[in-house]
Symmetry: C2
Subunit: 127 residues, 2 copies
């Protein structure tokens, strides 16, 4: 593939998804499912879920790869691969500053995913 300098095919959730009503309120359309499923998929690995959490909960809103990697019993390339997955799913942003690379969470998409899963106060609804 020729994805050398390309800014990565990050899913554009802001443009495509109108912001999605709760999954339990109305049937999610095919297009929305196609756009949001990869995000859930990216969170569907324990390592990536923890990476996401470490990044999102970091002190300054960003986490250095140098801090992320030693937190797991995995090699650098593997962590890098998982970070790339999170990046391509639109969940995080990466920025290089000098020697180190910093990752930052994108709250917008997290909000969309949370909204999709949100349940109205009435659990069994009209039951």
């Amino acid at each position: 593939m020729s994805k050398q300098q390309a800014p990565l095919p990050v899913v554009n959730l802001n443009a495509d998804a109108p912001c999605c009503p709760p999954l339990a309120q109305r049937r999610v359309p095919v297009e929305t499912a196609a756009v949001l499923a990869p995000a859930f998929k990216a969170l569907g690995d324990p390592v990536r879920l923890q990476l996401m959490s470490m990044i999102a909960s970091a002190e300054d809103g960003e986490a250095c790869v140098c801090d992320l990697t030693p937190a797991f019993d995995l090699t650098g390339p593997t962590i890098s691969h998982h970070l790339k997955t999170l990046r391509e799913a639109g969940l995080v942003d990466a920025e290089r500053r000098g020697t180190w690379v910093y990752y930052r969470a994108r709250p917008q998409i997290l909000r969309q995913l949370a909204a999709l899963l949100s349940i109205e106060s009435t659990p069994a609804s009209r039951a």
Copy 2:
């Protein structure tokens, strides 16, 4: 194999996960990640995401497989397989009544997942 009547190894989220503070608030522990990641993984397929939505948004809170299957260009066994995945992830419950099998969403786990992804009102937080 003797998994005839066995109630399926459904993840017990109520017992294991205390209910999980937001992912962006505190680093999610390894155990929590191990328990919740499969749920995200199960939602990480467009077909399953739609199935989940169809079940959760169904009129009486439950959906018949006979209504689910024709909504996709997939064979019965494939839909059945996806439903099993959702079941094993603890996202839905199945019940046979006579000829048909009905699936019902489990709001509890959806709430947990939503809570994990929830972001405090302050987007960039303490920035």
